[in-house]
Symmetry: C2
Subunit: 342 residues, 2 copies
């Protein structure tokens, strides 16, 4: 009933054998690639100004075009993921790197993680403040230490030793986010009592990228400023491998966005892979089943499998997202529009 | 071929109906319980002094006896896990709470997490220094905030607001660990160059507890001081839900110990549950298969399922561990002895 390990091994050997054949004959351009990105699943895009909607679409388009260019050029999945996430970290429209949301004290604290589908190598940072590109610092943790997750000043110190590009607080804290934070603070101060539970706060604009490259490898990256007005040293799912980020060539690459706590308790990203690995589900079925376990209006995920199948699944009013592949399919979307519409 | 949600619902209803029946007739003592604990999988117990071996056995016995007493008394799984882990945090023999290993600067930084199998509620803290019982602070995160993972000073602040018992540095840093740290430091200073990769350091004495209570509920808790000489704000698997700790009534409760990075990249704890949930494996098969994916000499796990089956699986020279259930079965073990021998 279930495929045995031996059957899988024979299939893998046969696939490798026959796919190497054509490559040796110089038909390299037959190799496929797929890229999917997201810019967060918070807020209702139909309530956004036309201008802000356009900023989001422009940011997604810039990142997607960069990814497609690198993938066409046969770049490695891990490099593409890093470069595409850096592009979104640089863009103040998204809640990652420059333009991130601010915590209770009006400060910035950034989380990121990256994972290599070839070997499960991964790196992550939580609550860093100095490195301009947290996704690059996460990659440094993966390649330059024996660790997976570093937090706070220690992680920043590693970035400084390796001379990663640093930035001052004013770089990260944009005027738009200062105003949003001030508005949030005024509201908090008018409400009775201390804000132990933090009330209902928007979870906006975490970014992520998943890729199948022309070499058949998967990778995933996620970067965020967390949630507006956060305190207590709260860490969400973005730097938690298996919750908000995961990649394994044998199954899929996943990046999540939403209420991180719900992603952590369900190991959302690795749960999608586990449904493929153990229940034999295809990626779309697996992803839909995992998202169906989340509370309503909780978040979403992007994913890609080793055949280049892409999934963009969410249970909120919208998820800023974009997709492209080597067959020329392409979409850039914000709300609940049909993925085939754009 | 696969059981449908409807079938499961009918089965759950029928089980609840028929199990409530006898209880109402006063046959409450028929309910089963199981407890499994560990005190870390590092080091080779055959190389330890008789005195240290006895300290380990005594610590495990004290914690196990406490757990058995509470479970016989029909206490809830979550309360039992918290109390048993507190007992091991108080015991300087284990690397958790008092007697934890020290980081590069000779300071203590504690991690812990707890999870409720009834509803996937969970809480975790990373790198806290003030709270005498990190497992209780982790439970506070679960019950008193909307978050799952809090780190550093913010987490300590939460404990202080809720008037959890605090302790000074001298309480955590025992003479034995100071001496071990000094020895480690001398060795580091003699070696050439900066210690970027941290070299080979012992991973000793993380503690954990998993329980099936008489009400049929599962819970898991894990607490640790991390690894000797750690730096960079490194966070291991103990506070990462799904990696070093997990509980779900539908599958199992798991607590891990070992090289945390390997546990994080494989989502070890939730992977065992996923093999049960999606591949239909029994707990022993699932746990053995997951441990088989780890590198040699990496660590181990304890686990219990809803039927009270217990597993203590490791791929190191030893794992300090103990087990007891309502049928009177019992063992307290350190090395590779057969579980039936003690």
């Amino acid at each position: 009933m279930r495929t045995t390990t031996l059957q899988i091994a024979i299939l893998a050997w046969a696939t490798a054998f026959f796919s190497v054949g054509p490559t040796l004959k110089g038909q390299e351009s037959a190799a496929k690639y797929t890229i999917v990105i997201h810019g967060g699943a918070g807020g209702d895009p139909t309530a956004w100004s036309q201008e802000y909607q356009q900023q989001r679409r422009d940011g997604l388009t810039t990142a997607l075009d960069l990814g497609v260019r690198l993938l066409s050029d046969k770049q490695a999945a891990l490099d593409v993921v890093e470069q595409v996430v850096r592009s979104m970290e640089d863009n103040p429209t998204f809640n990652a790197g420059r333009g991130c949301v601010l915590n209770q004290q009006g400060h910035h604290e950034l989380d990121a993680s990256i994972m290599d589908g070839r070997n499960l190598n991964c790196g992550a940072v939580a609550s860093v403040t100095k490195c301009k590109h947290p996704i690059t610092l996460a990659r440094l943790v993966m390649t330059e230490t024996r660790h997976v997750l570093l937090m706070g000043a220690g992680a920043d110190e590693l970035g400084s030793i390796h001379q990663l590009e640093q930035a001052e607080a004013d770089y990260f804290r944009t005027e738009r986010q200062r105003l949003r934070w001030q508005k949030w603070l005024d509201k908090q101060q008018k409400s009775a009592g201390p804000v132990l539970g933090e009330g209902r706060v928007p979870y906006l604009g975490t970014v992520g990228c998943v890729v199948l490259d022309q070499h058949g490898n998967l990778a995933a990256g996620t970067s965020t400023g967390g949630l507006m007005g956060k305190r207590w040293g709260r860490v969400g799912d973005s730097p938690v491998i298996g919750a908000g980020n995961y990649a394994d060539n044998g199954t899929c690459a996943v990046s999540g966005t939403g209420i991180g706590e719900e992603f952590i308790r369900r190991s959302v990203a690795s749960d999608i892979a586990a449904r493929m690995r153990y229940a034999g589900h295809e990626l779309p079925t697996a992803a839909a089943a995992t998202i169906a376990t989340l509370p309503d209006n909780c978040g979403g995920i992007i994913a890609v499998d080793a055949q280049g199948n892409a999934v963009m699944e969410f249970n909120t009013p919208g998820m800023s997202r974009a997709f492209a592949n080597s067959s020329g399919e392409r979409s850039v979307l914000l709300g609940r529009e049909d993925a085939s519409a754009s």
